[in-house]
Symmetry: C2
Subunit: 196 residues, 2 copies
Amino acid sequence: MTTAKRDTYTPETLLSVAVQVFNERGYDGTSMEHLSKAAGISKSSIYHHVAGKEELLHRAVSRALDGLFGILDEEHARVGSAAARLEYVVRRMVEVLLAELPYVTLLLRVRGNTDTERWALERRRDFDHRVADLLRAAAAEGEVRTDVEVRLATRLVFGMINSIVEWYRPEGRGAGEREVADAVARLVFGGLRAAG
Amino acid sequence: MTTAKRDTYTPETLLSVAVQVFNERGYDGTSMEHLSKAAGISKSSIYHHVAGKEELLHRAVSRALDGLFGILDEEHARVGSAAARLEYVVRRMVEVLLAELPYVTLLLRVRGNTDTERWALERRRDFDHRVADLLRAAAAEGEVRTDVEVRLATRLVFGMINSIVEWYRPEGRGAGEREVADAVARLVFGGLRAAG
């Protein structure tokens, strides 16, 4: 018999434990046993909440994806010049990444071995395309440089933003959320060069 | 008895097979058995060349690190304004990353579980600091913006450059090496915004 704590978990708190374990061990390397130990509840208690680890993965990456797609529905992402909308979206991407750090980290590490992972990759690609469309529109308006191909620029900008999950620590003494979002917005649009 | 191909390996070709396996399975997940199968030679033949998998890791990350540190000794990295030297180094980092793609990919995935991995992480930090110093010097000369903290800017620029290993495929129909290096140099220094 597993000696388990009284199950005071909600699907939400169980999810937060699962995401932490997935990020530490990798999704493939995580068993229900690992989740049970980390949560301090029995496997059967976990099965009371979810059908299995893939459901937890689905919920976790959905949270990250909903946060990202939600940006595109916000007023400043829909109204105004394409360049202004793009700048808004870039800044909000950083904010969502920092607000949902473990969930976005997991999303970015998904590799495509299961249906849920393939679905998440497909949704990420959709989001990338939406941002690339915005970049294309801003270039057509003459607000964004045209000497860097749109897909390549999108990849490099996403590369900069997504790399934040590798080093950002919310409890650290380093840069705060606002500082990171400002830095990304400045570098992505203005680059390093001092304004002439 | 292992039925092995005749051992026509040199330390160099064995290294290239090992790096591929490390990148696919992760260093921790790779056994001498995996290396033996991938190389098509017996384990004892591998031991003829190297003391074990950690020596292969050491050689592989050394190759990436030597490539990166070598940049700093090149004339254009030593002579000229700090901003021009920084721009040269950024472009050369992309070129070295693309030329030594599997080796740099492995270097960037090193986690710090063994002495060799910890040594590699320490050397990466040294390199980051050298580039951060250049950025600081360029800011002091007034050529680089000062409203983004130097370490944060360095992290974001490295994030953009290092993300290339996630999607660049040498044999692909996508952007070529020159196009990627140009794109990074333009975005890092000038940003997305069209020149007024």
